[in-house]
């Protein structure tokens, strides 16, 4: 019975017509040719140990994971001082804990988690990473920051600040006050109309000109400002979609209950609108995380730039080493982005259940 079920499925989905049969055979042949080679390249034929690129230059038919292992500390921390790296570990661990708390849909007291993540955590992270003479933590200049933790930091800063700013901009765009509306529309359309790189150039080259010389922002702060501005405009459009999809009745009912504008938004409209657009917001987060790779254009060493630097190390020069480096970077970004996408699909299913 089971086999006839499987056979019936195969007949309907793989061999329904002559053309479909050809396609199936072609796909199977392609997979049978490529997959074993890929797997062997990444595992059995790969070079796992070595202190320089000599082994990998000798055996060029496999990946050079020894390179990634040897450079792992640099890829994670950049040039952050060795003795202070526990601070990065601590910030990452606390961040991971808070994010799990926020993402776990049945977790207790999620409001507290949100408050900690959006308010307390950024301050704590800043103090720990940068250092503070009051607490006896040596100050680490942002010039030395680099690697995975800078990529994650940029993404988290972008997410934490762009979401509230995006909500404000979306409310501004839907406002009945013409000046507020015009200012929001101008900001959103301007930012969405230009490439992210030009925003980064602007933040890097123009921001220091627009403030008194003594206030010139830190060189890591400039691209962070750029990414917040950029992401907020896209976030605003997502939130606006949610605001527009609510029926008038929700607004009218809130007004009829005597709620003023801030309470109407905070208690009735935004909770519904934001829930509706969670998938879109997560998609924006994915885009933001991928866009963090561009900040290297203004001289910040993010993960991809650290990988680029590691590849250029003459001790580890070699064709397979470069490919391995990029493949590893690809896996890193894929794991984070695909994870976010799956989570978003999961939340969407839960919400769809609630709406039925």
């Amino acid at each position: 019975m089971l086999s006839s079920g499987a056979l019936a499925w195969a007949r309907a989905n793989l061999f329904s017509s002559i053309g479909s049969t050809f396609v199936t055979v072609g796909c199977v042949a392609l997979a049978a040719y490529l997959l074993p080679q890929l797997v062997a390249w990444a595992t059995t034929r790969a070079n796992w140990s070595g202190t320089d690129g000599a082994v990998c230059r000798q055996h060029q038919d496999g990946a050079c994971w020894a390179f990634v292992i040897a450079k792992w500390d640099y890829l994670r921390f950049g040039s952050y001082p060795l003795a202070e790296r526990w601070r990065v570990d601590a910030v990452e661990a606390i961040g991971a804990l808070l994010i799990v708390w926020l993402l776990w849909t049945n977790a207790p007291r999620r409001t507290w988690g949100a408050l900690l993540f959006f308010v307390a955590y950024p301050i704590l992270a800043l103090v720990l990473l940068r250092g503070s003479s009051l607490l006896g933590l040596p100050i680490v200049d942002t010039l030395l920051w680099g690697g995975i933790f800078v990529s994650l930091l940029t993404a988290v800063v972008g997410i934490v600040f762009s979401l509230p700013l995006g909500v404000l901009l979306a409310l501004g765009r839907r406002s009945s006050l013409p000046v507020v509306r015009a200012a929001s529309v101008a900001f959103i359309e301007f930012v969405r109309g230009v490439p992210f790189i030009t925003i980064l150039f602007m933040a890097n080259n123009l921001l220091p000109l627009f403030v008194p010389e003594a206030w010139a922002p830190d060189r890591l702060l400039r691209p962070l400002a750029g990414i917040i501005i950029f992401s907020a405009a896209y976030m605003a459009e997502e939130v606006r979609g949610g605001l527009q999809s609510l029926t008038r009745g929700q607004y009218e009912a809130a007004v009829a209950l005597g709620l003023n504008y801030p309470r109407m938004m905070a208690l009735v409209i935004l909770p519904q609108a934001l829930t509706l657009v969670i998938p879109g917001i997560v998609n924006n987060f994915i885009g933001l995380f991928m866009d963090t790779t561009l900040i290297s254009v203004v001289g910040v060493t993010d993960f991809l730039e650290a990988m680029n630097n590691a590849i250029k190390d003459p001790v580890w020069a070699g064709p397979t080493i470069m490919v391995t480096g990029y493949v590893f970077a690809g896996i890193f970004y894929f794991v984070f982005c695909y994870g976010m996408a799956r989570y978003s699909a999961h939340v969407e299913r839960i919400l769809a259940k609630g709406r039925k």
Binding site: N13, L14, S16, S20, V23, T24, C27, V28, S176, L177, P178, V179, V180, A183, E189, F190, R192, G193, V194, P195, F196, I197, T198, F201, M202, N205, L206, P208, L209, F210, V211, P212, E213, I286, M290, D291, T293, L294, V297, L304, N308, I311, P319, M322, V323, Y326, A329, G330, Y333, F334, C337, Y338, A341
Partner: protein, 391 residues
């Protein structure tokens, strides 16, 4: 409460007065920020000796650009460098958009295929592309594929016509002969006649119901007329094929590796997003539409062509347009691999040489804004025309 204080508070409770105050405050903040920024900028620029005008536009640039569609040398001005960069950006868009559309639609259709395996393959492709940064793709193609190719003397060649090496892709370049204008004229005439025949056939079908073999007639016209001209006057083009001379290939149409990597990266990346848009658009057409088409006796192909695709296009066009804009904007990643686009030449080299950051960034951003807003306006016209009109 005395009447005076009641009166004093009443305007604060008036929604319109509060709105007015809010807006005045916002305007004041924006104005103060703008004034402060301009004031600081002027002071800072004077202190650093940065030019404040657009005088640099006509100064000699003094650097070379390895790809220019208009005449350019290192004696040309910054203004000419700007136009070279802008044209190079548009060149990438013009090449990438049709290719990305083709690949995207193909993958989108594969994703919708009844064949489970093909649809899985398409899913794997879109998942990988949509979750990998474009910059990583570009660096991978440029550094570890194109730059790792053999040198000119060991070029990979396809039938000794197309060559691929670490200096780029060499295609045969068509060189016009004296009969070329006649040939082009024949092509245009054939296209015009084919369109006229199509219109006439539609008109006749509307009146009498008789169908005409439009495709056959159009194919005969478009292939036949130029073929006749070629037979009468000889070949309109000769192809200049790259040859090895010394240590390099000469002749042919050279596509520099930076451009090949940029186009390849943009096309493969954007195609994944277009595929998802196509899939969502087709799936959003209610199943009743294709069932009704089936009930009318249309087979699957005709029902797709006449019923499903036209309705899906209405949903596909707006996000597809924004993907096209994304291609234009993402082509600025050229700066990472050294393709001479607007950002690399103008916001990069020119900015560094002239130090005129404010002016250069304003011009660069204005170019992208104009493109984006023009496309947005065209899209609004499209939407106004094709949105379903409710009663």
């Amino acid at each position: 409460m005395d009447p005076a204080s009641a009166k004093r508070w009443s305007w604060l409770n008036d929604e319109r007065a509060r709105g007015l105050i809010c807006q005045i405050l916002l305007l004041g903040c924006i104005g103060a920020l703008a004034c402060g920024a301009i004031y600081n900028a002027v002071i800072n620029m004077r202190a650093r000796g940065i030019p404040t005008g657009f005088g640099f536009w006509n100064d000699v640039a003094g650097f070379d650009i390895n790809l220019h569609l208009i005449s350019y040398s290192n004696l040309s001005t910054y203004g000419q460098a700007f136009w070279v960069g802008l044209l190079n950006t548009l060149l990438i868009a013009v090449i990438s958009i049709p290719l990305a559309t083709l690949l995207g639609f193909a993958i989108g259709v594969a994703r919708l295929s009844p064949n489970w395996l093909l649809s899985r393959f398409a899913l794997v492709y879109t998942s990988i592309m949509r979750n990998t940064p474009l910059l990583l793709l570009l660096l991978f193609w440029y550094n570890s594929v194109l730059k790792a190719l053999p040198g000119p003397r060991q070029s990979i060649s396809v039938g000794d016509v197309v060559f691929l090496n670490n200096r780029g892709l060499y295609l045969p370049m068509p060189v016009a002969r004296e009969s070329a204008p006649w040939f082009l004229g024949a092509v245009l005439l054939a296209a015009a006649l084919a369109i006229a025949f199509r219109l006439w056939a539609q008109w006749r079908q509307d009146r009498t119901g008789t169908q005409a073999p439009t495709v056959l007639v159009a194919a005969a016209l478009i292939l036949g007329l130029p073929a006749l001209v070629t037979a009468a006057l000889g070949a309109p083009f000769v192809f200049d094929i790259a040859r090895l001379s010394g240590f390099n290939l000469r002749g042919g149409l050279q596509v520099i590796p930076e451009m090949a990597a940029l186009v390849f990266g943009l096309v493969t990346f954007t195609a994944a997003f277009i595929a998802e848009i196509v899939r969502a658009g087709v799936l959003a057409v209610p199943i009743g539409q294709s069932e009704a088409a089936g009930a009318l006796g249309l087979h699957r192909g005709l029902s797709m062509k006449l019923v499903v695709i036209p309705q899906a296009m209405r949903l596909i066009t707006p996000p597809l347009t924004s993907q096209y804009l994304n291609i234009v904007k993402n082509s600025s990643l050229a700066v990472f691999i050294g393709y001479p686009d607007l950002v690399q030449i103008f916001a990069g080299t020119v900015l560094n040489q002239t130090q005129a950051a404010v002016q250069v960034m304003a011009i660069t951003m204005a170019v992208y804004l104009v493109i984006s807003l023009a496309v947005a306006m065209a899209l609004n016209l499209f939407n106004a025309r094709y949105t379903l009109k409710g009663r």
